[in-house]
Protein backbone atom coordinates (compact mmCIF):
# COMPACT_ATOMS: atom_id res chain seq x y z
CA UNK A 1 0.00 0.00 0.00
CA UNK A 2 2.90 2.30 0.78
CA UNK A 3 4.02 2.25 -2.85
CA UNK A 4 0.72 1.34 -4.47
CA UNK A 5 -0.69 4.83 -3.98
CA UNK A 6 2.14 6.28 -6.08
CA UNK A 7 1.37 3.76 -8.81
CA UNK A 8 -2.27 4.89 -8.78
CA UNK A 9 -1.32 8.58 -8.95
CA UNK A 10 0.98 7.64 -11.84
CA UNK A 11 -1.97 6.02 -13.65
CA UNK A 12 -3.97 9.24 -13.29
CA UNK A 13 -0.94 11.12 -14.65
CA UNK A 14 -0.66 8.78 -17.64
CA UNK A 15 -4.36 9.13 -18.40
CA UNK A 16 -4.45 12.93 -18.21
CA UNK A 17 -1.25 13.26 -20.29
CA UNK A 18 -2.93 11.07 -22.93
CA UNK A 19 -6.45 12.47 -22.84
CA UNK A 20 -5.36 16.12 -22.96
CA UNK A 21 -2.98 15.27 -25.84
CA UNK A 22 0.03 16.53 -23.88
CA UNK A 23 1.86 13.45 -25.23
CA UNK A 24 1.31 14.69 -28.78
CA UNK A 25 4.41 15.99 -30.57
CA UNK A 26 2.08 18.30 -32.50
CA UNK A 27 0.79 19.98 -29.33
CA UNK A 28 4.36 20.88 -28.33
CA UNK A 29 5.19 22.15 -31.82
CA UNK A 30 1.97 24.19 -31.85
CA UNK A 31 2.85 25.63 -28.43
CA UNK A 32 6.29 26.77 -29.59
CA UNK A 33 4.65 28.28 -32.69
CA UNK A 34 2.21 30.19 -30.42
CA UNK A 35 -0.66 28.80 -32.50
CA UNK A 36 -2.83 27.47 -29.68
CA UNK A 37 -3.71 28.27 -26.09
CA UNK A 38 -4.06 24.60 -25.12
CA UNK A 39 -0.65 23.92 -23.52
CA UNK A 40 -0.44 27.40 -21.98
CA UNK A 41 -3.87 26.88 -20.44
CA UNK A 42 -2.84 23.52 -18.98
CA UNK A 43 0.47 24.68 -17.50
CA UNK A 44 -0.97 28.07 -16.47
CA UNK A 45 -4.00 26.69 -14.64
CA UNK A 46 -1.89 24.02 -12.92
CA UNK A 47 0.56 26.70 -11.77
CA UNK A 48 -2.15 29.06 -10.48
CA UNK A 49 -3.77 26.25 -8.47
CA UNK A 50 -0.27 25.18 -7.42
CA UNK A 51 0.47 28.66 -6.04
CA UNK A 52 -2.62 28.50 -3.84
CA UNK A 53 -1.66 24.99 -2.74
CA UNK A 54 1.91 26.02 -1.88
CA UNK A 55 0.57 28.86 0.27
CA UNK A 56 -1.43 26.35 2.29
CA UNK A 57 1.66 24.12 2.55
CA UNK A 58 3.85 27.00 3.75
CA UNK A 59 1.28 28.12 6.32
CA UNK A 60 1.00 24.51 7.48
CA UNK A 61 -2.76 24.54 6.89
CA UNK A 62 -2.31 21.37 4.83
CA UNK A 63 -0.04 18.63 6.16
CA UNK A 64 0.85 15.19 4.86
CA UNK A 65 -1.53 12.30 5.52
CA UNK A 66 0.77 11.41 8.43
CA UNK A 67 0.39 14.91 9.90
CA UNK A 68 3.91 16.09 9.00
CA UNK A 69 4.68 19.55 7.63
CA UNK A 70 4.95 19.69 3.85
CA UNK A 71 8.30 21.14 2.87
CA UNK A 72 8.90 21.86 -0.81
CA UNK A 73 12.69 21.80 -1.22
CA UNK A 74 13.99 25.00 -2.87
CA UNK A 75 15.57 24.73 -6.32
CA UNK A 76 19.31 25.26 -6.59
CA UNK A 77 20.16 28.88 -7.42
CA UNK A 78 22.52 29.75 -10.28
CA UNK A 79 22.07 31.43 -13.63
CA UNK A 80 24.23 29.05 -15.65
CA UNK A 81 22.79 25.72 -14.51
CA UNK A 82 19.21 26.86 -14.93
CA UNK A 83 19.64 28.82 -18.14
CA UNK A 84 22.04 26.53 -20.05
CA UNK A 85 20.48 23.34 -18.69
CA UNK A 86 17.09 24.80 -19.53
CA UNK A 87 18.07 25.72 -23.10
CA UNK A 88 19.49 22.25 -23.74
CA UNK A 89 16.34 20.69 -22.32
CA UNK A 90 14.19 22.97 -24.48
CA UNK A 91 16.07 21.96 -27.64
CA UNK A 92 15.36 18.32 -26.83
CA UNK A 93 11.76 19.05 -25.88
CA UNK A 94 11.16 20.84 -29.18
CA UNK A 95 12.71 18.00 -31.18
CA UNK A 96 11.30 14.96 -29.36
CA UNK A 97 8.03 16.75 -28.57
CA UNK A 98 8.06 14.99 -25.23
CA UNK A 99 9.44 15.85 -21.82
CA UNK A 100 10.33 13.08 -19.34
CA UNK A 101 6.76 12.43 -18.08
CA UNK A 102 5.09 12.00 -21.48
CA UNK A 103 7.99 9.81 -22.68
CA UNK A 104 6.89 7.06 -20.30
CA UNK A 105 3.22 7.58 -21.10
CA UNK A 106 4.04 7.12 -24.81
CA UNK A 107 5.78 3.87 -23.95
CA UNK A 108 2.51 2.70 -22.40
CA UNK A 109 0.72 3.84 -25.55
CA UNK A 110 2.83 1.30 -27.41
CA UNK A 111 5.19 3.69 -29.24
CA UNK A 112 8.32 1.63 -29.89
CA UNK A 113 10.53 4.51 -31.10
CA UNK A 114 10.17 6.31 -27.76
CA UNK A 115 12.49 3.65 -26.29
CA UNK A 116 15.36 5.30 -28.17
CA UNK A 117 14.41 8.68 -26.66
CA UNK A 118 14.15 7.22 -23.15
CA UNK A 119 17.51 5.49 -23.57
CA UNK A 120 18.96 8.80 -24.81
CA UNK A 121 17.50 10.70 -21.85
CA UNK A 122 18.95 8.19 -19.37
CA UNK A 123 22.31 8.33 -21.15
CA UNK A 124 22.05 12.14 -21.09
CA UNK A 125 21.55 12.07 -17.32
CA UNK A 126 24.63 9.82 -17.09
CA UNK A 127 26.67 12.20 -19.25
CA UNK A 128 25.66 15.06 -16.98
CA UNK A 129 27.13 13.08 -14.08
CA UNK A 130 30.35 12.61 -16.08
CA UNK A 131 30.76 16.27 -17.02
CA UNK A 132 29.20 17.82 -13.91
CA UNK A 133 32.46 19.15 -12.45
CA UNK A 134 33.48 20.81 -15.72
CA UNK A 135 30.18 22.63 -16.29
CA UNK A 136 29.26 26.12 -15.07
CA UNK A 137 26.49 26.11 -12.47
Amino acid sequence: MKLLKFFLVGILFGIVMSKAEIISWYRIYEMFKFQAFHMYGIIGSAVILGMIMMTFFRRKVIKTFEGKDIIVPPKKPGIYRNLFGGILFGLGWGLAGACPGPMFVLLGQGVVAILVVIFGATFGAFLYGVFKEKLPH
Binding site: F7, V9, I11, L12, F13, G14, V16, S18, K19, A20, I23, S24, W25, Y26, Y29, F32, K33, Q35, G41, I42, I43, S45, A46, L49, G50, T64, I70, V72, P77, R81, N82, L83, G85, G86, I87, L88, F89, G90, L91, G92, W93, G94, G97, A98, C99, P100, M103, V105, L106, G108, Q109, G110, V112, A113, G120, A121, A125, F126, G129, L135
Partner: protein, 185 residues
Protein backbone atom coordinates in the same frame (compact mmCIF):
# COMPACT_ATOMS: atom_id res chain seq x y z
CA UNK B 1 -18.71 7.86 -21.40
CA UNK B 2 -18.33 10.34 -24.23
CA UNK B 3 -16.94 13.04 -21.97
CA UNK B 4 -14.10 10.65 -21.18
CA UNK B 5 -13.38 9.30 -24.66
CA UNK B 6 -13.27 12.71 -26.32
CA UNK B 7 -10.07 14.81 -25.88
CA UNK B 8 -9.94 16.73 -22.58
CA UNK B 9 -9.77 20.51 -22.57
CA UNK B 10 -7.02 22.47 -20.86
CA UNK B 11 -9.29 23.50 -17.98
CA UNK B 12 -9.84 19.84 -17.17
CA UNK B 13 -6.20 18.79 -17.54
CA UNK B 14 -4.58 21.69 -15.65
CA UNK B 15 -6.55 21.14 -12.42
CA UNK B 16 -5.95 17.36 -12.61
CA UNK B 17 -2.20 17.98 -12.88
CA UNK B 18 -2.48 20.27 -9.84
CA UNK B 19 -4.34 17.45 -8.05
CA UNK B 20 -1.54 15.01 -8.94
CA UNK B 21 1.01 17.44 -7.52
CA UNK B 22 -1.11 17.84 -4.38
CA UNK B 23 -1.39 14.07 -3.87
CA UNK B 24 2.36 13.53 -4.22
CA UNK B 25 3.09 16.16 -1.52
CA UNK B 26 0.20 14.97 0.61
CA UNK B 27 1.75 11.49 0.49
CA UNK B 28 5.01 13.03 1.73
CA UNK B 29 6.98 13.05 -1.54
CA UNK B 30 7.58 15.41 -4.49
CA UNK B 31 6.59 15.98 -8.11
CA UNK B 32 9.55 15.62 -10.47
CA UNK B 33 9.81 13.06 -13.22
CA UNK B 34 13.33 13.65 -14.59
CA UNK B 35 14.92 12.64 -11.27
CA UNK B 36 14.07 9.05 -12.25
CA UNK B 37 16.62 9.25 -15.08
CA UNK B 38 19.38 9.51 -12.46
CA UNK B 39 17.82 6.67 -10.52
CA UNK B 40 17.94 4.51 -13.68
CA UNK B 41 21.68 5.27 -13.94
CA UNK B 42 22.18 4.23 -10.32
CA UNK B 43 20.23 1.00 -10.80
CA UNK B 44 22.23 0.33 -13.97
CA UNK B 45 25.45 0.46 -11.96
CA UNK B 46 26.70 3.96 -12.83
CA UNK B 47 27.81 4.26 -9.20
CA UNK B 48 30.79 2.03 -10.06
CA UNK B 49 32.17 4.81 -12.29
CA UNK B 50 30.95 7.92 -10.52
CA UNK B 51 30.23 8.70 -6.90
CA UNK B 52 27.46 11.03 -8.12
CA UNK B 53 25.35 7.96 -8.88
CA UNK B 54 26.27 6.09 -5.68
CA UNK B 55 22.93 6.50 -3.99
CA UNK B 56 20.51 4.18 -2.29
CA UNK B 57 18.03 4.15 -5.17
CA UNK B 58 15.46 2.28 -3.07
CA UNK B 59 14.49 5.55 -1.40
CA UNK B 60 13.30 6.68 -4.84
CA UNK B 61 11.09 3.61 -5.25
CA UNK B 62 7.97 5.74 -4.86
CA UNK B 63 8.98 7.76 -7.94
CA UNK B 64 9.71 4.60 -9.93
CA UNK B 65 6.22 3.43 -9.01
CA UNK B 66 4.87 6.75 -10.28
CA UNK B 67 6.65 6.14 -13.61
CA UNK B 68 5.31 2.59 -13.76
CA UNK B 69 1.85 4.04 -13.17
CA UNK B 70 2.37 6.59 -15.95
CA UNK B 71 3.20 3.75 -18.36
CA UNK B 72 0.11 1.84 -17.20
CA UNK B 73 -1.99 5.01 -17.51
CA UNK B 74 -0.84 5.46 -21.11
CA UNK B 75 -1.79 1.87 -21.83
CA UNK B 76 -5.22 2.22 -20.17
CA UNK B 77 -5.94 5.47 -22.03
CA UNK B 78 -4.98 3.93 -25.37
CA UNK B 79 -6.89 0.69 -24.82
CA UNK B 80 -10.13 1.84 -23.23
CA UNK B 81 -10.50 5.60 -22.99
CA UNK B 82 -9.78 6.84 -26.50
CA UNK B 83 -11.80 6.48 -29.66
CA UNK B 84 -9.69 8.69 -31.93
CA UNK B 85 -6.06 9.76 -31.73
CA UNK B 86 -6.63 12.64 -34.11
CA UNK B 87 -5.29 15.87 -32.62
CA UNK B 88 -7.26 19.01 -33.46
CA UNK B 89 -4.29 21.31 -33.98
CA UNK B 90 -4.46 24.74 -35.56
CA UNK B 91 -4.88 24.53 -39.40
CA UNK B 92 -2.00 27.00 -39.66
CA UNK B 93 0.21 24.51 -37.73
CA UNK B 94 -0.74 21.81 -40.25
CA UNK B 95 0.22 24.13 -43.10
CA UNK B 96 3.51 25.13 -41.46
CA UNK B 97 4.39 21.47 -40.96
CA UNK B 98 3.46 20.56 -44.52
CA UNK B 99 5.87 23.27 -45.69
CA UNK B 100 8.79 21.53 -43.94
CA UNK B 101 7.77 18.07 -45.14
CA UNK B 102 5.47 16.71 -42.41
CA UNK B 103 2.49 14.99 -44.00
CA UNK B 104 -0.93 14.59 -42.33
CA UNK B 105 -0.04 16.60 -39.24
CA UNK B 106 -2.50 15.92 -36.44
CA UNK B 107 -3.86 12.68 -37.92
CA UNK B 108 -2.33 10.82 -34.94
CA UNK B 109 -0.49 11.86 -31.75
CA UNK B 110 2.96 11.63 -33.33
CA UNK B 111 4.52 12.40 -36.71
CA UNK B 112 5.56 9.33 -38.65
CA UNK B 113 8.52 11.40 -39.91
CA UNK B 114 10.10 11.12 -36.45
CA UNK B 115 8.46 8.17 -34.70
CA UNK B 116 7.71 5.80 -37.56
CA UNK B 117 9.57 2.49 -37.19
CA UNK B 118 10.97 2.76 -40.73
CA UNK B 119 12.46 6.16 -39.84
CA UNK B 120 13.80 4.92 -36.50
CA UNK B 121 15.72 2.27 -38.40
CA UNK B 122 17.60 4.78 -40.55
CA UNK B 123 20.81 6.33 -39.20
CA UNK B 124 19.41 9.86 -39.40
CA UNK B 125 16.12 8.89 -37.81
CA UNK B 126 17.82 6.97 -35.02
CA UNK B 127 20.20 9.84 -34.26
CA UNK B 128 17.33 12.36 -34.13
CA UNK B 129 15.56 10.30 -31.46
CA UNK B 130 18.76 9.56 -29.55
CA UNK B 131 20.12 13.13 -29.58
CA UNK B 132 16.71 14.58 -28.65
CA UNK B 133 16.67 12.23 -25.66
CA UNK B 134 20.24 13.06 -24.64
CA UNK B 135 19.47 16.80 -24.72
CA UNK B 136 16.34 16.30 -22.59
CA UNK B 137 18.14 14.11 -20.04
CA UNK B 138 21.36 16.13 -19.84
CA UNK B 139 19.50 19.46 -19.79
CA UNK B 140 16.97 18.36 -17.17
CA UNK B 141 19.66 17.19 -14.78
CA UNK B 142 21.86 20.23 -15.38
CA UNK B 143 18.91 22.51 -14.66
CA UNK B 144 17.81 20.25 -11.80
CA UNK B 145 14.31 19.67 -13.11
CA UNK B 146 12.03 19.37 -16.11
CA UNK B 147 8.51 20.54 -16.89
CA UNK B 148 7.14 18.99 -13.69
CA UNK B 149 9.84 20.05 -11.23
CA UNK B 150 10.55 23.51 -12.66
CA UNK B 151 7.57 24.69 -14.74
CA UNK B 152 4.82 23.31 -12.50
CA UNK B 153 6.27 22.97 -8.98
CA UNK B 154 8.98 25.63 -9.17
CA UNK B 155 6.78 28.34 -10.66
CA UNK B 156 3.98 27.47 -8.21
CA UNK B 157 6.47 27.93 -5.40
CA UNK B 158 7.65 31.28 -6.86
CA UNK B 159 11.21 30.03 -7.35
CA UNK B 160 13.53 32.34 -9.29
CA UNK B 161 15.75 29.42 -10.45
CA UNK B 162 12.65 27.83 -11.99
CA UNK B 163 11.70 31.01 -13.80
CA UNK B 164 15.21 31.12 -15.30
CA UNK B 165 14.96 27.43 -16.24
CA UNK B 166 11.54 27.87 -17.88
CA UNK B 167 12.86 30.85 -19.86
CA UNK B 168 15.67 28.49 -20.94
CA UNK B 169 13.13 25.78 -21.91
CA UNK B 170 11.44 28.30 -24.17
CA UNK B 171 14.63 29.67 -25.70
CA UNK B 172 15.64 26.08 -26.59
CA UNK B 173 12.18 25.07 -27.77
CA UNK B 174 11.72 28.17 -29.91
CA UNK B 175 15.15 27.83 -31.53
CA UNK B 176 14.44 24.16 -32.30
CA UNK B 177 10.93 24.75 -33.65
CA UNK B 178 11.58 27.90 -35.69
CA UNK B 179 15.16 27.42 -36.89
CA UNK B 180 16.53 23.89 -36.48
CA UNK B 181 13.53 21.70 -37.42
CA UNK B 182 13.28 23.29 -40.90
CA UNK B 183 16.98 22.49 -41.41
CA UNK B 184 16.70 18.86 -40.31
CA UNK B 185 13.58 18.01 -42.33
Amino acid sequence: MEFITQPWDWYVAGPIIALIMFLLYYFGERFGVSHNLETFCSIGGAGRFLDYFKIDWRKNSWNLMFVAGAIAGGFIAAQWLTTSTEVAINPQTIEDLAAIGFKDAGATYLPNEIFGIENMLTLKGFLILLIAGIMVGFGARWAGGCTSGHAIVGLSNLELPSLIAVIGFFIGGLVMTWFILPLIF
